[in-house]
């Protein structure tokens, strides 16, 4: 949290010192003068108004940090109980329903349990690194939220290279996982940390490659600009989101798979599954430190989903013109929640992948598809100005460029694998 604070301070201080107008953008959109839409920014400006002008940048940053922490902290707490109840329903059982009505107080019970559990640190462990690893993982996981546009002009830090910042922040979490595995002085933790690192760096490549077409077509790395580039509707009902184009759909699928792997979520949760090497790199962690790792995984997942919503699903844009009366931050929240529900659904359905299956999927399947997707997006961008029949051809060629490599590479990779036959069943 202090890291997020420092970065936010640095960016704000930088903007202040270089004399840029602050805040960088004011409310200028003509359809944004409804009360609900303006409410968060108006509230922030009202609080900032209490302080002298010289401290405005500090108060501005503090409000952003506190708002992000409060909203996403509560979101994380209720995400745990929602996930458990949804998984329960998928598995023909009820989730937790004893703590409070419908089990809604379960996260607080979990927090009390995590806080009161004994904190066991192995005697041979590297105490400083053992303590720092969960702290770093949570801090850098939270830093990713700084560049997500939650609504029209609602973004904690307005950066020119926002997407790059996001990935720089998430690459430090991989380092923390290694620190966790190594500082436990446990052979099995170290091996599991190595496997986790292999998984994370394998899937960074498809993740970044699937985002490059979006950046290319929006010709900017700034997340708020990318959302604005997905504005407008065809005939008032078809939004211009990236996911509704062939290359965008393929890119979105690759992004979702890579995001699942990057946040160590089923079916890619080999590093932390209960039946794998005890708990992998988290073996020697108990109590609140384990809760911090858990929290960091959920924050990472939420941040990656937020980025996916921003880059592919149109961010805070409404899907139809007549639904614009619903405030932009509600749309962002709804899309984020929908994507996370999809991830929970996938978790309840798919089997865990082995480490060699994981890495094979990343290097042999996702990377070639992402590269071909890049070429597809380039073709799409170059044929943007064609007349009406050309547009149909453009769609057909683009969809073929998605489908044909998918089917060919898929068939080639699963060539030697027949459906399992059971001799004695």
């Amino acid at each position: 949290m202090s890291a997020a604070f420092l970065v936010s301070l640095a960016a704000s201080a930088n903007a202040w010192m270089s004399g840029r107008a602050f805040p960088a953008r004011t409310l200028v959109a003509p359809d944004a003068d409804r009360f609900l839409e303006r409410a968060p920014l108006a509230a922030r400006d009202w609080v900032v108004g209490f302080f002298p002008v010289s401290l405005h940048w500090l108060v501005h940053s503090l409000i952003s940090i506190v708002a992000v922490l409060a909203v996403f902290g509560l979101f994380f707490a209720f995400l745990t109980i929602i996930e458990r109840k949804l998984l329960g329903r998928i598995q023909n059982r009820l989730g937790p329903n004893r703590t409070g009505p419908f089990g809604l107080l379960q996260p607080f019970a979990d927090a009390v349990k995590a806080l009161t559990k004994e904190d066991i640190v192995p005697a041979a462990a590297d105490k400083l690194l053992h303590f720092l690893a969960p702290v770093i993982v949570v801090a850098f996981g939270l830093m990713g939220f700084a560049v997500l546009p939650f609504g029209r002009d609602i973004i904690p830090v307005e950066l020119d290279a926002a997407v790059l910042y996001f990935f720089a922040a998430s690459s430090a979490t991989e380092l923390a996982i290694f620190m966790a595995g190594w500082s436990s002085r446990n052979k099995y933790s170290l091996l599991a940390a190595m496997r986790a690192l292999a998984q994370l760096i394998s899937y960074e490549l498809p993740l970044l490659l699937s985002i490059v077409p979006v950046v290319m077509l929006a010709s900017t790395l700034s997340t708020s600009e990318i959302v604005r580039a997905q504005g407008g509707w065809t005939l008032g009902i078809l939004p211009h989101w990236n996911v509704l184009t062939p290359w965008g759909a393929a890119g979105f699928l690759i992004f979702v798979v890579a995001a699942l792997a990057e946040s160590n979520r089923s079916p890619f949760d080999l590093p932390e599954a209960e039946s794998e090497l005890i708990a992998g790199h988290l073996t020697e962690y108990s109590g609140f430190k384990y809760a911090l790792f858990f929290m960091a995984e959920y924050f990472g997942m939420t941040a990656l989903c937020g980025l996916g919503v921003t880059l592919f699903l149109g961010g805070w844009q409404a899907p139809c013109a007549f639904l614009e009366f619903i405030p932009s931050y509600v749309w962002f929240g709804a899309k984020l929640f929908g994507l996370i529900l999809g991830l929970i659904w996938i978790r309840g359905t798919l089997l865990r992948l082995r480490i060699d299956q994981l890495t094979r999927l990343a290097w042999k399947f996702l990377v070639p598809l992402a590269l071909i997707n890049l070429a597809n997006a380039a073709f799409w961008s170059l044929t943007a100005g064609l007349p009406w029949p050309g547009q149909i051809a453009r769609w057909i060629v683009s969809m073929a460029l998605v489908a044909v490599p998918f089917v060919t590479i898929g068939r080639t990779l699963s060539a030697g694998l027949a459906p399992r036959t059971y001799k004695y069943a």
């Binding site: 329903r89 023909n92 059982r93 009820l94 089917v407």
Partner: protein, 223 residues
């Protein structure tokens, strides 16, 4: 097609999720302790002693302290002390009864051997499972008062077995009565011609009636 398996799997889980709200087959959780799963009839937990009626449980125990179950119990968890006196049982015959009948439920393994060997259908298996105790030794040693439950309770928990036992016991009782009636009739028939002719006609029905009423008493020797 690659990915079709995943899509089918997602459809299955979605059906499960939706069905869990209205289809009882897709929501198998029974929210204990508000609801309980109905127990099958031949479920057993620990034994109990059957007494004929609930008003006098100690006085109408079927158990006659024969100690067969005590000897047959594999972990030897039954402890019986016979009474000093006898009291009449359901057929009127005088029987002993258990003054002390203890079962140590921390030892009992619910094997039902005591039920199988009891010749009097006096001990049967109970079905209560909510018998958690706080004291490890005293609370788990059940004595006669805690073990005695009525025959109507037995009917409630094991209807078919209880009806079968009752039918069998009624038949046995009827057979015993028939036999007693036949024995009394035989004794009356034996006693009748042995009486001399002097008080022949008038006292003839009297000795028959008298011998009928006093069947257990041996007929006076007529020499």
């Amino acid at each position: 097609m690659l990915g079709s398996g995943i899509l089918k799997g997602l459809a299955v889980t979605a059906k499960n999720f939706a069905g869990s709200y209205y289809d009882p087959a897709r929501m198998v959780t029974v929210e204990y302790p508000e609801k309980r799963i109905p127990i099958p009839e031949n479920y057993r937990n620990f034994p109990f002693l059957v007494s004929e009626n609930a008003e006098d449980p100690m006085g109408t125990l079927r158990c006659v302290a024969c100690q067969i179950c005590e000897k047959e119990c594999p972990p030897q968890c039954i402890y019986i002390e016979k009474s000093k006196d006898k009291k009449p049982d359901a057929t009127g015959k005088l029987q002993l009864f258990p003054a002390v009948f203890d079962i140590d439920t921390s030892v009992c393994m619910s094997c039902q051997i005591c039920v199988e060997v009891c010749p009097f259908d006096a001990i049967k298996m109970d079905q209560v499972y909510e018998i958690a105790a706080t004291d490890r030794f005293n609370d788990l040693l059940l004595d006669r008062e805690q073990l005695a439950k009525s025959n109507s309770y037995f009917h409630q928990i094991h209807p078919t077995e209880a009806s079968e036992v009752d039918a069998r016991l009624a038949a046995e009782r009827k057979a015993a009565e028939e036999k007693a009636k036949a024995a009394a009739a035989a004794k009356a028939a034996v006693a009748k011609p042995a009486i001399p002719t002097a008080p022949a006609p008038a006292p003839a029905p009297k000795p028959a009636a008298a011998s009928n009423a006093e069947a257990p008493k041996p007929p006076p020797p007529v020499a």
